[in-house]
Every structure is written in structure tokens, then in C-alpha cells.
């Protein structure tokens, strides 16, 4: 009895303000150090944002692929970076938006977890999200701003979604619709694949939780679900209309590009470390408990199944699950984001484990748990140093200056051996390239036919990448491609035998510029893919507007939080309370 009382005393949740403060303490210094700039995709997002800075209502970007439309990628995080950059500059604006996404994740995990577990367990789940290694991996190593911005918005939308389908609260309906739409405007893959994995367990939970005296018959729940799905679908269709038009006119038919997240992590253990050990970290130790507890508590079973399916997909080619469920999309998607979503789905159950351990063992649990979480987080943050996106960090200022002077930008260029500095250079130069980092935006046949990604990294894609590079060089006259800027001597023999000559050397001869004579100046291309003005206006208005609307609508006060508290006896906190288990 005494033990039960002590547990009751300790069962207060950690204040959300304290958890947010922890997020500030962990991530703000890392972001102020601009660590994500070393990641794979950060420069890509900043490049997109830099275009919005200058051409908010014109998504046509002539700097890559001889001209492409930015409507091929949902714009919300990049547009926010563009807005904030007016005050902070592009780099720090990126960090600010990423920081906001991290704080949103804390709130989102807390609110999402409250659907499943007690407030105390939910608060531990939210605290765990601060040190979540999959989040750190995506932020600091992968640089996936869109994924890490969209998921928290979805998590924040789900409790409203639950409230609507269970209780029919119109206020929740409005908030859910607006938040889902804003999340879709942030990332398309999260919309198409992630939203299902998050929403289905919540729908099942609402069906399980329903009570006949609450005007929540099964048919009413289904009707409300259909209604909100239709409305959200319509809203997303309108907000991202230029994206859908582009997708329908130019479906993704390019040859799949290999990605190591599709490897079998046992046969290729180096990728297992990269895509399993690092993103999951110490959470791996909790997997048996997550399975056991998730299966034992009836209310947690939908969440467990959602987690398990996402977890299996996140294993990439380690199991046949992803290939079977996703079909051809398996060859297009990358799977680190599925691991990220799996860890988010596991957090409520993990919060339960942590709450139980802390209540039972106090400091003997707090110290090792904190150490494990911190080490996992540290490993994921440090991973961009152990396995950097680029072997060397170098500046591209001299290259940008060279391209911007003496009419060099009358011609197109490509870089070789620049890695993710390709985007950084594109931000700084006025010249146009036939290369680029946005694989889904590519239309030039030399890029889509072979199965290589960016030409600047052609050698890493072996024969397909080099075939693509040779095809592009062979058609240099067609694209006004006169300059090849080389930072990797590997490519020099090809340029030499293909008729290019060294014309300049930059940065202590670490970068060489090769030119080809007789190439005509670049002319505007791909005019048929250029979105009309009305699409540009939509693109500049609706996605960003959806986020503003979401902020305003979320500020409408709630009457009362509903969730696990109102459930039947089988789902009351006592059932999930470690004190009862101990006693």
C-alpha cells in the first residue's frame, strides 16, 4: 500500500516546458554550430529556399537540369526558410526552421502519446524524442528537413483526428484538416506513405474506444473517417495542385537509382550500421519490451502493429516486406524515413517502459537510461563526421566567382566531385547547370535513362552513373554545356579523350576548369514543362497559407482534452501503471 502511494505521488508527468527546454539545450547549440550543413540534403533545401527568396511566385528554376519546376517538391519548409532568411540569412534560417520542427516534434510526440498511454508515460516519450537517434540521424546526417518537418505536424494532427472521429467535435475536425494539409505541403512521401502508417492505428483505436452512449456508433465513426479523409484529400489536392499536375503530366518513369537503404543489412553489415544501428541506437534494446507490452495491452495493439509494419518496411531489403508492400515504389523510395516513423510510433510504448523503470528503480534507472539515450543521440549526431557526405569540406566561392565573371554564365556547366556542394554552388552562381540533386525533378533523358543520381557524383553509381555522364558530355552542344569544373582527377581522362581541355585552375589547383570549344551559348530549354503563371501564384500562396492557417486554427482553445482518461476500465491508467504491477 505504501508503495502504491509513492507511485501515485511520482506519477506526475514531466512538464512540457521542461521537455522543450531540454530540446533547446540539446539541439540549439548543434544548430547554431550549423552542423546540418555537413549533411547530404541540407544544401539542396537551402538551394530551393534561395529560389523562393528571389522568385516566390515563379517556381521555374533555370539553375538545374537546364530548367526545372520546383513544383516537383512540396515547398513548405523551404518557403519558411526563404521567409526567415530575410532576417537570419539562408543558413541560419534553415537552422531556425529545423529547430522549430524539432520543438514541434516534442509537442507532437507528447500529444500523440497521450492517445495511447498516461500523461506521465507520454511525457517520457516526448523527452525521449529530444534524444531520438533517428531524428538526429535525419537532421544532422541526412539533412531531411521536409521529412522531419512533416512528421511532427502529422503527429500534432492525429489527436484532433481521433477527437473528430470518436466524438465528432467540429473544432477538432477543423484543426485536423488544416494540420494534415499543412503536413502534406511539407513533404509528399510522408503524405503518401507515412500518413497511412500513422493514421490507421488511430482509426482502429477510436473504434476500440468508442462507447454507445457517446453518439459514436461504429458506422458514425466510419462516416466521420470517410468524411475527413475526403475533405483532407480535396484540400491537399487543391493546395498541391501544381505538384499533382506535374506528376500526372510527367510520371516518374526514370530508371531507379540504387540506394543503400534498400540493402540487406545482414548481407551488407556496413549499411546495417548506417540504417539500423545508428537510427535506432539504444532503442534496439527496448524492442522486445515494445513487442511484449504492445501485444499485452489491448489498446496498444493497433500502435504495435503500425510500428511493426513500419519497422519491417524500414529494414529495406533485409526482408521482402517492403518490396512486396510497395511494389515498384520500393525502387524509388529510401527507407531511413520509415525507420524514423517506426521510432516515432514506438515512442509511446517506450515512454511506458521508461515510466515504469523510473517509478520502480528511480536513479538506478534514470542514470543508465539517460546515458543510453545520450549516447544514441551523440552517435547519430557524430555520424556525419564518421561517415561524411563529402570526404572534404571546401568552399565554392572561387568557382562561383569564376562562373559569374566574363560571360562564363552564358554557358551551362557541370561539376564533378563536388558532392553536396553542387547545391551550394548553385545558390552562389548565376550560371545554369544540366545537373542537380533533386532526382524527382529531372527530365533530361541523359539523366533519367541510366540509373545514376547527380552527375557530380557519377563514379559512385559505377556504370550507370558514368554512362549518364558520358551521354551528357556527348550532348554538350545541345545544352550549351561548355564548362566542366573538376575536383576529382578521376574524371580527367574522360574529359581529355572526349575533347575538353583544361582552361583554368582554382583554389591552389585543387579545382580545375575544363572547357570545350565550339559549344553554342545556352538557350532556355524545357519550355513545355514550365508551369503557367496561375500555378506559380497557387504555389506561392496555398502551401504557405496552409501553414499560417494551421498556426491560427491551432490557437483556438480546446474545451477539454480527451484521450486515454475517459476509457473503459480496461484502459485506465491503473492498467498501465507500474505501481499496480509492482504491487
Amino acid at each position: 500500500m505504501r508503495k502504491f502511494e509513492s507511485v501515485a505521488t511520482a506519477s506526475r508527468p514531466i512538464p512540457l516546458s521542461f521537455i522543450l527546454l531540454a530540446a533547446v539545450g540539446v539541439h540549439l547549440p548543434l544548430l547554431l554550430m550549423q552542423l546540418p550543413l555537413k549533411s547530404y540534403d541540407t544544401n539542396f533545401h537551402i538551394f530551393f529556399a534561395s529560389h523562393y527568396v528571389h522568385h516566390w511566385f515563379n517556381p521555374w528554376n533555370a539553375k538545374w537540369f537546364a530548367g526545372f519546376s520546383q513544383t516537383t517538391y512540396p515547398p513548405l519548409p523551404q518557403q519558411w526558410v526563404a521567409i526567415v532568411s530575410w532576417v537570419l540569412g539562408l543558413n541560419m534560417a534553415y537552422m531556425a526552421v529545423q529547430f522549430a520542427a524539432i520543438l514541434l516534434l516534442v509537442v507532437g510526440v507528447y500529444r500523440f502519446s497521450m492517445l495511447w498511454v498516461s500523461p506521465r508515460a507520454a511525457s517520457f516519450a516526448a523527452l525521449a524524442s529530444v534524444l531520438l537517434s533517428s531524428e538526429c540521424f535525419l537532421v544532422y546526417s541526412a539533412g531531411q528537413l521536409s521529412t522531419t518537418a512533416a512528421a511532427p505536424i502529422y503527429l500534432n494532427a492525429l489527436p484532433y483526428f481521433y477527437d473528430w472521429i470518436r466524438y465528432g467535435k467540429w473544432r477538432s475536425f477543423l484543426k485536423a484538416v488544416v494540420l494534415f494539409t499543412a503536413a502534406a505541403a511539407a513533404h509528399h512521401a510522408t503524405l503518401i506513405f507515412g500518413s497511412m502508417l500513422f493514421a490507421l492505428p488511430v482509426i482502429v483505436l477510436a473504434l476500440m474506444d468508442r462507447k454507445d452512449d457517446e453518439n459514436s456508433s461504429a458506422s458514425a465513426l466510419v462516416m466521420r473517417t470517410v468524411m475527413i479523409v475526403l475533405l483532407v484529400g480535396a484540400a491537399i489536392a487543391v493546395v498541391l495542385l501544381p505538384f499533382w499536375i506535374g506528376l500526372i503530366r510527367y510520371p516518374i518513369t526514370q530508371t531507379p537509382i540504387p540506394h543503400p537503404s534498400r540493402a540487406n543489412y545482414i548481407l551488407s553489415p556496413q549499411w546495417g550500421v548506417n540504417y539500423f544501428i545508428v537510427p535506432y541506437g539504444a532503442l534496439i534494446l527496448a524492442l522486445p519490451f515494445i513487442i511484449l507490452r504492445g501485444a499485452k495491452v489491448v489498446r496498444l495493439r493497433p500502435l504495435l502493429l503500425g510500428f511493426w509494419v513500419t519497422f519491417m518496411i524500414g529494414l529495406g531489403g533485409t526482408t521482402p516486406v517492403a518490396r512486396v508492400l510497395l511494389g515498384r515504389a520500393f525502387e524509388v523510395l529510401t527507407f531511413e524515413r520509415f525507420s524514423y516513423w517506426a521510432t516515432l510510433l514506438a515512442l509511446p510504448i517506450l515512454g511506458l517502459l521508461v515510466a515504469e523503470l523510473v517509478d520502480r528503480f528511480r536513479m538506478r534507472a534514470i542514470v543508465p537510461l539517460t546515458l543510453l539515450a545520450s549516447l544514441s543521440c551523440a552517435l547519430a549526431v557524430a555520424w556525419s563526421t564518421f561517415r561524411p557526405a563529402d570526404a572534404a569540406n571546401f568552399k565554392v566561392d572561387s568557382v562561383a566567382q569564376w562562373l559569374n565573371r566574363d560571360g562564363h554564365d552564358n554557358y551551362r556547366y557541370i561539376t564533378l566531385g563536388f558532392g553536396n556542394k553542387l547545391s551550394r554552388l548553385a545558390i552562389m552562381t548565376d550560371a545554369s547547370s544540366v545537373d542537380g540533386e533533386s532526382n524527382s525533378s529531372r527530365m533530361l533523358p541523359e539523366l533519367t535513362r541510366y540509373g545514376g543520381a547527380a552527375l557530380t557524383s557519377a563514379k559512385y553509381f559505377a556504370k550507370p552513373g558514368l554512362d549518364s555522364l558520358r551521354a551528357m558530355l556527348a550532348h554538350s552542344d545541345r545544352y550549351g554545356l561548355k564548362w566542366v569544373i573538376v575536383r576529382d582527377p578521376y574524371y580527367e581522362p574522360l574529359l581529355y579523350f572526349a575533347g575538353w581541355r583544361k582552361v583554368d585552375e582554382l583554389d591552389d589547383k585543387t579545382i580545375t576548369v575544363w572547357g570545350k570549344d565550339g559549344v553554342p551559348p545556352a538557350t532556355p530549354m524545357n519550355a513545355s514543362q514550365m508551369p503557367p503563371h496561375w500555378q506559380g501564384v497557387m504555389w506561392g500562396t496555398l502551401p504557405f497559407g496552409s501553414s499560417l492557417l494551421a498556426i491560427l486554427v491551432v490557437l483556438i482553445p480546446e474545451k477539454r482534452r480527451r484521450g486515454w482518461q475517459d476509457e473503459d476500465p480496461s484502459t485506465t491508467p491503473e492498467d498501465l501503471n507500474s505501481g499496480r504491477m509492482i504491487s
Binding site: A263, S268, R301, T318, P320, V321, A462, K463, F497, G499
Partner: protein, 377 residues
Amino acid sequence: MNKGNLLALVLAAATVVLVAVGTVWPVKAAVFYAGGGKEGLLRPSSTPEEAVENLGTQIRLLAWEKAYESLSNKAEFTEPEFLHDLTGYALSLRTYATLDSFEVQPLHQSATDAEMRMKLRWSTVVGTFQDTRDLRVVKSGDHWAVDWPLVKEQHVPPQVIPVNYLRWDVIYRGAGDDWGSQDVEAPHVRIIDMHPVNRAEGVVVMGELLNEDVVPAFVSVRATLLAKNGSPLASEGSFDMISHTLLPKQVTPFVIRFPDVDLSQVGSIRMQPLSVLVSASADPVIEVQDQKFNPAPGASLTGQLSNQSGQVVNIAHVLSTFYDKNGQLVWVGGQYIDRALQPQTPVAFHIAIPEDLAKKITNQRTVVATYSSGSSL
């Protein structure tokens, strides 16, 4: 057992089973990252084919140590020697080549040894090349191991080679000069032969270009196919099927390919030779030795390249022009040499010729373009 425990057990068992299935029968993408096979993890070398395939997989994964350790004759050479045999002793196309695929073909087998032919297709920055090795595979206990036929490096005795070849330097207007903005007249070049042929893959335009001038020229050729009504059908350049640097009075063959175009669609061809004055040197001189035309089947031109200079040529590109009995151009073929040309050390070349054209060929001429790393502007 209650439902919860049962569900947990089912999920755990399903996870194990699915991981096992994914590992024993990996999906295509997983096979690719595992080196095109299962890296010997689940596949012991219980047959000669498996032994050679495992070796190929290890080479593809750049697992040199494992590959070396698996050899039956590893006592005859060191691991670095084995590595150099595959990647070259000096900087060459082999150095950064990646194994794209390999093929194993049994030649002979007994209870204790076997002979296998291994065709390794390497991918390089200038294209693919094939390296064929005939391997002896021997049985050792319950498994088979490959006897690797090491190609040892040939050493040239220390010597002094005087260099007295011609060299042309160009003084430009200033450091700010840009390529293509020269204020001197371009060297005079002329197409002395041009011959379009229809092939299965499309139209191929071949020819020869002469530098008529007394200064070196950097050349390329562009061709535009015009339809019978005069409208352009396609425009392509010679790319790497030409020797770009031409010394005075030198001739280079060229090939321009137009995939997916039929010669019957073509009314005329507009040729655009381009030349620019450049610095050049006659050094290094590459001598073509022992040329031999091998008629069909398997028509080819074989021979050896000998580097007469004292510096290493990292990559050589051999271009051969084939003529009929009337001296008319029949075909142009080329091959990149995958090993560096060490001074005074002959290296073999082999240029395949289409079977249907081989019977017309009575004569040939070969030129060699060379690349040495670290060349300045």
C-alpha cells in the same frame, strides 16, 4: 498462453522468418549491395563454380583480403601483388575501375581440379573493358579454391632515354585569356574521307581528318544529318572516337554515331570540322608493333603498343582505320588500354571488327592518343 503473448510471439517469429527469407533469397537491390552474390556468407565454395563466383563477388566488393585469403596459391605472391595485378601497378584505367559484372564458364573438371574461364567486366570512367582469366580451381578438403594466374609487373632496367621530339608552345595574350577567344587564325584542317554506313544501332558516320597546317591543332568533328527535304534530323559529335590533338600533317580517324536513325531517312550530311591552336608535343611516342588482322570468325586487329619515351603513359586510346582493296574506308574501331604503358614495355591491344565488314578489309592504319596524369594547362 493469452492473446497478448501469442501476438508477441507471432510478431517476433514473423520478424525472424522474414529476415531469414530476405537473407536467404534477397531482393534484387539487396543482392546488388551484397556484391552481386551472397558474399560467401551462405554459400561455401563446394563446387569449382561457387569458388570462382565467391572470388568474383569479393573482388566486386573490394574485399581484397578475403579474396586473397581464398586463393590456393597465395603463398606464391603477396596480397599487394594480387591487388596490383587487378588494379594495375601504375595509375591506369584499372586503378579506379569497379567490377560491373562477371561470368564464369567451366572448361574442364575432374574430381580434384577444374579449369574455369572468368570474364570480368570492369567499369571505368571512359567505358567498360573485359578482362578474361583462365583459372585453375583445385579441391582442398571439402572445398574448392582458385589458383590465381598472377600477371607480374615487368621491370625495365635503369637507363637514360634522351628526349628530342618536337614541341610547339603557344604564347597567349595574357593570363585573362579564355579558351576559345584566341585572336589567331585557327589551324587549317580538312576532312579527307567520309563514309556513312547503316548499322543495327543506327547510322555511323566515319571519316578521316587531316591537319594541313604547320602548327598543332586541337580538333573535333560534328555532323548533322539532313532529311531529304533539308531539315535537320540529328546532330552529334565525334566525342572520344577521334584523336583530338593533331600535330602538323597528322591524320586522325573519327566516328560519329546516330542511334535510332536509318540511313534511308538521310538526304545529306553536313560536316563541321573544328580546330583550335594549342601547345603540343610529339612526345610520348607510342610505337605500334606486330599488328595482325585476324579474319572472321571473331574478326579483330591485334598488336602491341610500345612506349618509346621515358615517362609512364597512364591511359592509351588506340584508333584503327580499316580500308578495302581500293583504299576506301570501311570501318573505324577503337580500344582503351586498361594497363599503363611503362617505358619500353609492350602492351597488347585487341580491336573487334564487325563480322560482315571484316571480309572487305585489306589494310589498316592505327593511331594512338595518350593521357598522362598531372599534365598542366
